[in-house]
Symmetry: D2
Subunit: 367 residues, 4 copies
């Protein structure tokens, strides 16, 4: 089950960082949805390496091929296979980690669990695995847009630099986020964030941060009581992204220090006489079910574990202390490239629940 996500809208991914390819099969997408290879490629381009001076120089175009499930430009209700061949692999730097587990990486746990594993470039533990998520997530986003749901993620913290949450209904938000290298909502703060990253790189170090994601247009009723609450599904999705250490919904941890009179979201009527809450500490979810307010989550990413300096570790072939200098081509900060991944994971969750709740038709092609 490890590589399958979702129930009604279900993605199964495969692939190792230095294997022949990565990809996914998406099962459960309704028939009749218009989708092109370019729409999928666009999201992949946002997460691909080498897109800016802040990211790893690994030269992958991550060009996607549609293997099945699309005919005459529309989905046909059958599994959609999506394939990206790995082109620019350089495994020469990784031989060393076979016996010297890198601090912060999965090398040792992986070796102990599987006995035999692909150590090249982190193998399947590499964030390259997320290509399948993004490819499927792009289709999920297309489907959600067809029913009025829009998802947008952006960086709100890099190291010590924070950016306040923007207005999710700001019509220029998406463009502004995409206009700066760190994908944050404020252009001045963006420069400070870029600086924090370049400073970390200069110091042969890396830096962590926080991404916020918002979904607008989500109708009331998504999410199931008890174990499949919408917030539980989101937390699951986000914490499955490599390098995440925390997830919070709406007001998150900060409101846990407060009192109920400060944090309860008051129901009121908007100008059109519709129900809304005055504040949104709930993050758009009440009792596990979407309330019609924007869904808001924040995800914490630890600093990248691969840092280009010598670190202590153990040589497990001799069981004695040693040092390792992690080579390979790494990002000093994952946040800019993680923004589309976060969007796509939320899209996968909402797509799943939108189908379960009957918000999305069983087929877009039936009159």
């Amino acid at each position: 089950m490890s590589s399958t996500f979702g129930s009604a809208f279900r993605v199964t991914t495969w692939g190792e960082s230095h294997g022949s390819s990565v990809g996914c099969v998406l099962d459960g997408c309704p028939a009749g949805l218009e989708i092109s290879r370019d729409e999928i490629q666009r999201q992949l381009d946002r997460r691909r390496p080498g897109q800016s001076k802040l990211t790893t120089p690994r030269g992958e175009l991550d060009s996607v091929e549609i293997l099945s499930g699309v005919f005459e430009g529309k989905t046909i209700g059958t599994p959609i296979g999506l394939l990206v061949y790995n082109k620019d692999t350089d495994s020469s730097k990784y031989e060393e980690i076979r016996n010297k587990p890198r601090p912060g990486h999965a090398d040792y746990t992986w070796k102990q669990k599987f006995g035999h594993y692909d150590w090249r470039g982190g193998g399947r533990a590499s964030a390259r695995e997320t290509i399948g998520r993004v490819a499927a997530g792009a289709i999920a986003q297309k489907m959600l847009e067809a029913v009025g749901i829009k998802i947008l993620a952006y960086t709100t913290r890099i190291g010590p630099v924070t950016c306040p949450s923007p207005d999710p209904f700001d019509p220029e938000l998406a463009e502004r986020i995409e206009s700066n290298l760190v994908r944050t909502a404020d252009l001045e703060i963006a420069e400070k964030m870029v600086e924090a990253i370049t400073n970390a790189r200069k110091d042969k170090d890396s830096v962590g941060g926080v991404i916020e994601v918002v979904a607008t247009g989500v109708p009331i009723g998504l999410g199931e009581p008890v174990f499949e609450k919408l917030d539980a599904a989101i937390a699951h999705a986000m914490m499955s992204i490599p390098a995440t250490k925390g997830v919070e919904i709406g007001g998150g941890f900060p409101i846990c220090s407060l009192r109920g009179s400060q944090t309860n979201d008051i129901w009121e009527l908007d100008d059109d006489g519709a129900m809304r809450t005055r504040t949104n500490n709930a993050g758009g979810i009440l009792g596990g079910i979407s309330s019609g307010m924007p869904i808001v989550a924040r995800i914490g990413f630890k600093p990248v574990s691969s840092i280009p300096r010598s670190q202590e570790t153990v040589d497990i072939s001799k069981m004695e202390p040693t040092n390792i200098e992690v080579k390979g081509r790494h990002d000093p900060c994952v946040l800019p490239r993680a923004v589309p991944i976060v969007e796509c994971m939320l899209a996968l969750v909402l797509a799943d629940h939108a189908i379960i709740q009957g918000i999305v038709p069983r087929s877009f092609a039936k009159e």
Copy 2:
């Protein structure tokens, strides 16, 4: 699927707060595990109402009945049915909420999703639903202890009062936690936390906080790559508990502001020559797989939404503003009673993964 949790060790719960009963079916527990009704009751007693001056006075003994799956004091590998009849229900106070959704509660989303629902005492959205989780979790804990895994949760924050993380190997920790009303690890801080709660109650208010949970003795290898990472499963489990707003693993959000050189856990050898990490920012999980270090998570609980004072809301029968005074019998703070719930949810996750990984035998009864 909403009321089923887990894959190999699977609990399905049922029941409304003011219905006839709550309970669960636990499927997948190996045969031959010794378990008594008293062991299950003990955990239920830790979460039951009326246990201290800090909790709701609803007078439920929550006495559990084993319906199946246990024979001659041992499990037989078949589903274990566990039943608790509701005894002290008083639905008179809830008639009002049918048309006046309470701020912070699921009343409105529930009504919109289901059309017809049980509004009495919150129905299935009530935290009374967690009885099934705790009953099943008690069996999970018993099973995990049989393979050396111990789980302990405790309060680390109530409103503004915080308590530092204790040493999880302190042999007196469990007893100390249980000796104070808020279930925290430090007796002096406990008093301040009690004060924070009683003050909130005095002010007709409620207060939130944070619970930390630690599992020791977890062998390396639990958790599956990609979507069923151990941390993702824990985040899912915890965020499915009513009133939770955030989950973090190990170093959590705080380490997301730092650099890799500060947060990487260095591999080293312990005095017995075994692998360990010098620090545990990873919270015992690397690449989604347990590392052998203690598993550590923290869960944020919002302040209880039910506060005994007048709050604004909307009368949805007339679609006009109104006020509501939430009656019924409520806790001013859920943390003390949530501690066993958090333990049990972690136990359900680890039990599931321990079976999947083959740590637990298919039957304890086979020689």
Copy 3:
């Protein structure tokens, strides 16, 4: 997973034959469906022991209790707990089978698999386990009837006596089936079937047979391609019933000896200009998807393994040959009581797929 069936409409059963109770939790039934305890009891009465001279005299009323999920006479979309306490257990006859596995029974496989098991009355391997299926199936039938789908099963063979398939649209069929002890469609043949059973009993023997089940009113489109074909789901469901040895759909095995020109169902227009097939060798399913024609399946039941005569076996405490005389109270033929079980299993399958396909609303209570 062993005790859970279905995906969107999901039943989990529990209980041993001589334990305290049997029952089920049904999750996924839409809110707003009117259902009464009596409607569930009616199907349970059709499968309960002691209902006629042909069945075991075990004196169980199988009185069902609704534990949750129903409020003011209607479902509320939450899990429906259903409980039947065992009243008339007599375990004294079963001590012997602990070391002498009964031919045709699960005693030995169960013991080897679980190590520790409940040997009394077959424990969970007893057909008493099907009470949970029938209770949930009764609700499934009610839900399906609300969208125009009707299910009817009847005996078509007892030992050598066969009865031709009746017209499924005969308005008196249901009543005629219920008017005879073997639940077959022809009253004269019914007498011969009764005779076959009483003869078997007289000879201290048992007898097998075949049940056919038909669903009418099933709209086109139920079932999913490839692995969740409707016929695959039906085969799974039926073969999970104790004592079944074969399942066939529509024309079944007989048409497998023929040629395509003889078996292809020709598409034509009915008097109202709607599509139908001239014959129904497909049994209402094409490519795994319902075609709008009646769904037809036949299920073979082996003769009851418990026969009141001495049979050879092995004493596994000494690993030497011995004899066993199976005592306890048994049916000489399971078919009459299996008819409602077969109906209910088909109902569970169709309910699941009707929800997945969006034939059934997410809530019957929403205007």
Copy 4:
């Protein structure tokens, strides 16, 4: 869920008959299993078109590519992606069926369910979809052989010609089956079966039949009580293969006409003092759990629906009667090519349950 099969050993397939490719992702195969592309190709070659004069001339080599999950000749515990590009597609013959559903085919149900679908060559309803099953099944077979389980299928009926069940332990059986075009166990009968097929083709017709499959070396204990009985899982698997109309286990339908004294399998000791049953009417499964005896199932395949003669149907663009002559390149009988498919589906079922039961190690690579 439609395109995913299995729980612990899980295959997800994709692909349309005339799309770019077909393939699968296999998740859950333990690490450390030696597997080569050639071993997978060998089973694919047994099902590929054009392999003999009895099969369709569509010229596909069905050459498989391993996309992931295998490193240095061994599995690594991660998803194994397997890809076969379609090379010899000729869609020109299928334009006609867009409005004229072929008798016995899924054209009409598919169109009604999905609205938009790939009508070329049957699209995903084509048996070409089974390539993914066979590729994954070949790996399942390799894994099962590593723990002593062997699977063999063979034709026992073509039209009116039947072949008795062979001794499953005959060491020359596998070779004999492979030495004749219809894959049956008796060479003389094989000739008659070939004749039955060539006669059908001569008559512009098709013919059905029955395949039997046997697994030897299956240890006691596979299969789960109640809904995941081993026989239920087998029935599900087999009935998901295109063109199947019936499944029976062990004695099957014929023993359903008999009495218990005739059909009960007597427990006895073999020459080595081990438990076995004298007969095997149970087909190696008691109470849903493998008994250690050979597992035996038979599957009925209807005659191929595509026959090269004019058949009546309805033109659904005008809703009026018409005729259709099904073109394209078709087999007159699917049985010879279905033999490896049946083997592979049984392998997928047993692999799944072998992992669940802990018969197969979590990793073959750990010492």
